[in-house]
Symmetry: C2
Subunit: 388 residues, 2 copies
């Protein structure tokens, strides 16, 4: 069931080790499900319990540690040798007596790694404060180092094989948006539309199965257009209201988000018409500026200046890096397209630019999911800015 | 958009404060999305960034703190007064310069709570080690107390209004399983079946919209039956293989899981036939024993003794408490139906018993989602153990 060549996984581990060396880390504890998947191929909805992958400079292959019932899943989906898969007993799950990190401490000691400089993903949701406390208490001779987005940064430049997956995700995204446009109409219930959208997300396209996106369909209408991140109810779409859609095509956990706005009528309010035109033109101007060598913040400045000149303000970041991911976020937590982000754009970075406007009197969403090429960008999906 | 009476939210906050007092906590920082929803009504897929609800003994209403763009969502979905909703600027998101908990520190100081005994949800996935570090550094006079599953325990006894939601979720669960049974057949692709299942999950039943479950459809067949937690691919169902299904009906984030096993043929392997019969009879015997006043571990003992007498072993816990939840888990992390759990069963506890068997040579899943009544149990969904 391996999705990439073993050599690709080994390269990823090698790149991670290089970054570990550069950051003075000898042993890295990787808890983020996307990072675990990236480094080993491991896949499973088991991230509601503690689990991790250990990367040690002392050992070629990573070590997977998870719940007993998931070890077969690790054997099936990862490239790891059986001896590098360790399973803890079910007693450790949601217990107030023992913690899965107690078991991780035991493995680290058994490997002789207890005096190492140990990196932890300190601000990743799947690494809790308690996880740290248990490690810290159990490994008094270790030195702990913050390695929060170390692997996330290794992920930022995609391989050709990953780009291929993201383009398949882009094809699925096109179908997902077409499905949304087909079903959203005055009188339809939001939940019935959400059901058709998610059906398209999971079905995929042609021979390629869709996967579950890291975020469910976000679909705001009526009063909810002044906020992102709301989901559906039994509410019925009304005439002359906008519908803001933030959807996704996903293939093998690789994401291609797609966002558009539908107006259910012919008389779009004047302010929305104006804002949407500024956002469309601003996004296009911004996209035209992206190429290897420019800085991320310079891209955002082009956007911000453009919309300011045309009387629109957006305070939130314009976008972020995308790729392989798991709930709750398809963003990579590395690049944020905003002032102060001095990252230099490189070939095969993949970005999601989403100039969403959520204000008291106007809501509008549009996006582009792109790959950086040798001299510019390539869209991961092909869908017009305007929804007919 | 409030789903429950204001008085119900107030009662929940009151119960939480009682537990805080009992645990010597003056200020509680609640980061778990289900706990935030439970205490305030707040709903939104915004939990991929840091956010929290503060419950202080000094203030009647909780305080919501989240990202600027989500504050309108809090105003729309929660019962909180506008002055109790605080929003941080977008610069705090995925930044290496400042952290959302820096903003929380500022609010706590502004409220004069910086010397309080502060409870944190130390082992909840949405409260990271970094979150703690920032709080700890910013509030040197505070005393931090572990309040990991304090609100989860408040949630364990459901109100009549909550039971009503869970019964609607149960009706959706029935429809979801019927949909799975209808579409799973030799030659069908897993992804197409997953798409129909999730369509049914979101559509809901009758006038009630379905919601996204905290876990996507888990569906194992072929080699994968020896593990839980795998999802779908383009693979095609083969004759004479079992399909293990762990699905869910969800209404307004209230969960009713449903798990069954389908065998795609008429000649079920002898071992599977035997194991399935033992599991069915064992589960029924166990269900018959549940009533207010007995202990959780005594329930599990009845199960374990029954299957042991009939030659089957299952090392993992038999079940857990369910209710309102968000990804990645529909379990409440309170009651675990296993040896050592001395919780006494009470009326209106809601439990998911899932005697899954995932072994090298046999895989089988079955479940019951139940409510404890005055003198026994009531099933939340009506679906036979055997799938025709």
């Amino acid at each position: 069931m391996l999705l990439f060549e073993k050599s690709e996984y080994r390269k990823r581990v090698e790149n991670t080790k290089k970054s570990m060396v550069a950051n003075g880390i000898e042993l890295l504890i990787v808890s983020h499900p996307a990072n675990m998947n990236y480094l080993t191929g491991y896949d499973g909805w088991s991230f509601y319990v503690h689990q991790c992958v250990l990367v040690s400079l002392d050992q070629e292959e990573p070590t997977w540690i998870g719940r007993g019932m998931d070890a077969n899943g690790a054997r099936i989906t990862s490239y790891l040798a059986k001896e590098n898969i360790y399973q803890y007993a079910d007693d450790y799950v949601h217990s107030i007596i023992c913690h899965p990190m107690d078991f991780v401490v035991d493995i680290i000691k058994a490997k002789g790694w207890q005096k190492k400089r140990i990196g932890v993903e300190s601000d990743q949701f799947y690494f809790t404060h308690k996880s740290f406390q248990v490690l810290h208490k159990g490994l008094p001779e270790a030195i702990f180092v913050d390695a929060n987005i170390l692997v996330n940064w290794v992920r930022v430049i995609k391989s050709e094989a990953e780009i291929r997956f993201m383009k398949i995700a882009g094809k699925i995204a096109e179908k997902v948006m077409e499905t949304a446009v087909k079903y959203i109409k005055v009188g339809a219930r939001e939940c019935d539309v959400a059901a058709q959208i998610v059906r398209a997300e999971y079905e995929g396209v042609g021979e390629y199965a869709g996967d579950y996106p890291a975020i469910v369909p976000l679909m705001m209408s009526g009063e909810a257009i002044k906020t992102p991140h709301l989901t559906w109810t039994e509410a019925v779409y009304q005439a002359n209201e906008p519908v803001l859609l933030e959807l996704c095509g996903t293939y093998r956990h690789y994401h291609c988000p797609i966002a558009r706005t539908i107006f259910l009528g012919t008389q779009m309010p004047k302010k929305m018409k104006k804002v949407s035109q500024v956002v469309k033109d601003g996004l296009q101007t911004t996209l035209d500026s992206i190429k290897p060598g420019v800085s991320i913040e310079s891209i955002e400045k082009i956007w911000r200046d453009y919309i300011a000149r045309h009387g629109v303000e957006k305070k939130a970041r314009l976008g972020y890096s995308i790729g392989v991911n798991y709930p709750p976020d398809w963003g990579e937590q590395t690049i944020s397209v905003r002032e102060g982000d001095k990252t230099i754009v490189q070939k095969n970075m993949t970005l999601h630019l989403i100039p969403g406007i959520w204000q008291e009197d106007v809501g509008y969403e549009l996006d582009a999911s792109i790959r950086v090429t040798d001299d510019g960008i390539e869209h991961l999906f092909d869908y017009p800015f305007d929804v007919d």
